[in-house]
Amino acid sequence: MRCQQCDKQAMFHITELETGDVREIHLCEDHARVYLNQAEANGEAAEGGSSSGALGVGQTAEELSELDQKVCDMCGITFFEFRNQGRLGCPHDYVQFEQELEPLIANIHGAVEHVGKRPQRAAPAPGAEPLPTATESLTSVIGLRKAIREAIEHEDYEQAGTLRDEIQQRLDAWRAAAEPARKVSPEQPGTAAGESG
């Protein structure tokens, strides 16, 4: 049997008993973890009445559905879509949904702060921007690319061209920043033929 949320084999077969309603859920290991952690977060909240801002903690159905409608500015994924698939849409989701993800991640890992290896380039300044500048400006390219597709749909080719230049600038800036780390060939990151729309 396949997982209901992806193509993997379902390893967890969960029966949910809700008032007068029996629901069968079949999930792979990863999705089961996300699902169970969520359920746990909800359950703990319901019992403890904590106001830690955890997923669904002390929130009404209305508030929850509002939460589900939150959208990532870059890739356009809604929090609801993420909850259904168990997979995020783009790196910016971790910034956009930071508050919503925090209790979920705390449940999975028992921690909310990365320790360990860092890209040598990322030069972490405590209290600095959420993403190291280079990464953040590159991540914004995802949104620009989406905007290009929309512009082309509306036949606004001038706008599409402007956006394309903008993408190029940001990729060039990354390359310039990366260069001291390593000598690379003069081709730009992620340009490919793709930006021609």
């Binding site: 290991e29 973890r33 790196p91 990365h114 990729l171 990354w174 992620g190 793709g194």
Partner: protein, 355 residues
């Protein structure tokens, strides 16, 4: 073609060498990485996936990652060849079965495998035969450094390396060892062992990863969490428990020999007998029986075949390997007949060597 050359080699995970190789088949570390400038694979458009693949292809050929890499476009490979790579543990089943632009780059020793557009844009895997986690980490981390110098990884100060699934965020590391634990299975202690592993947040999986069954008493032990601890810590979490499991398995093997030698000798001999004489046999049964014979060899109950030979059979009797060795695609039924024939021929030639 490179793949055909691989057919006759054993692959790293079944080389059967390295520390504690009688019980530890292989040590593996993989890192999940993503590009900052693209959506994750699951949300990328077809074109974006293609761009990611092209971008990483051009970058990976620039970096010195343990010698020359063989770059394989999975979309261009036959299904049989993809299955073959899964059997060698060079790509995951999901990677083989997915659609869209995806690829893998493999080094000549089959230790390093770079999966492109799996669940994450890039998964860097390194595998050694036997128990060798710290050397594996050094190697995979060095490869990661090389790639990082030419590829903009998605990284967040607080969350670490950003991954499509929050279960991998932070270090993006999965540390696994594959163990052969037949005596713990026979003495019915295996479930108890697994329950105690779960308590310390370690996962137990079958031979081919998530969702696969543990054929032939082969199990993978790996870390569950990836955030809030250093890579070294997470490696130690797995590495520290392995000697304990080795000790349990050795004790269980001793117990079998001392208390039930007749029984275990009988089981092992019957398994050996079936493998030498069967006319049709499935991959699962073959693996189960080879597992018993492997234990029999290690216990000194069978002395006309060696462990290296068993390891070789373990991989060569897998469906895709068998078909590639025979040079023809076969239905399951014919495969089972061919597998039995292959096994009989192998043991006959071994017997001839001895005489």
């Amino acid at each position: 073609m490179k793949l055909d050359a691989l057919t006759t080699s054993n692959g790293e995970w079944l080389r059967g060498t390295g520390p504690e190789a009688d019980i530890v088949m292989s040590s593996r570390v993989r890192l999940a990485r993503n590009l900052a400038q693209y959506p994750f694979v699951g949300r990328a458009t077809e074109q974006e996936r293609t761009e990611v693949e092209q971008f990483l292809h051009s970058r990976l050929t620039q970096v010195p990652v343990g010698g020359k890499l063989e770059y394989l476009d999975l979309g261009e490979l036959e299904e049989l060849d993809r299955q073959f790579l899964v059997e060698r543990q060079l790509i995951s089943r999901e990677h083989a079965e997915a659609v869209g632009a995806r690829a893998v780059a493999i080094d000549a020793q089959e230790q390093v495998s770079l999966m492109i557009n799996e669940e994450d844009h890039l998964r860097i895997q390194c595998m050694h035969s036997g128990l060798d986690l710290h050397a594996v980490w050094d190697q995979v981390s060095a490869v990661d450094d090389e790639i990082e110098s030419v590829v903009p990884y998605a990284f967040h100060d607080r969350w670490g390396y950003l991954t499509a699934c929050p279960t991998n965020v932070g270090t993006g590391i999965r540390v696994s060892v594959m163990l052969h634990l037949p005596a713990l299975v026979i003495t019915r202690q295996i479930d108890k062992v697994f329950r105690s592993l779960h308590k310390i947040s370690l996962a137990v999986r079958g031979l081919y990863g998530e969702g696969s069954q543990a054929f032939g008493d082969f199990y993978q032990i790996s870390n569950q969490t990836t955030l809030g601890r250093t890579e070294q810590d997470l490696i130690s979490q797995v590495a520290d428990v392995v000697p304990v499991l080795i000790d349990y398995e050795r004790r269980a093997r001793d117990f079998l020999l001392q208390e039930t030698e007749q029984n275990v000798h009988d089981q092992v001999s019957r398994a050996y007998g079936i493998l030498r004489t069967a006319q049709t046999i499935s991959a699962e049964e073959t693996m189960q029986l080879l597992s018993r014979v492997r234990m029999g060899v290690l216990l000194g109950l069978i002395d006309d075949i060696d462990v290296a030979g068993i390891n070789q059979l373990l991989v060569r009797t897998q469906p895709a390997h068998l078909q590639k060795l025979r040079g023809v695609e076969l239905e399951t039924k014919d495969r089972n007949i061919e597998r039995a024939r292959y096994l009989r021929q192998y043991f006959e030639s071994k017997a001839a060597d001895v005489n």
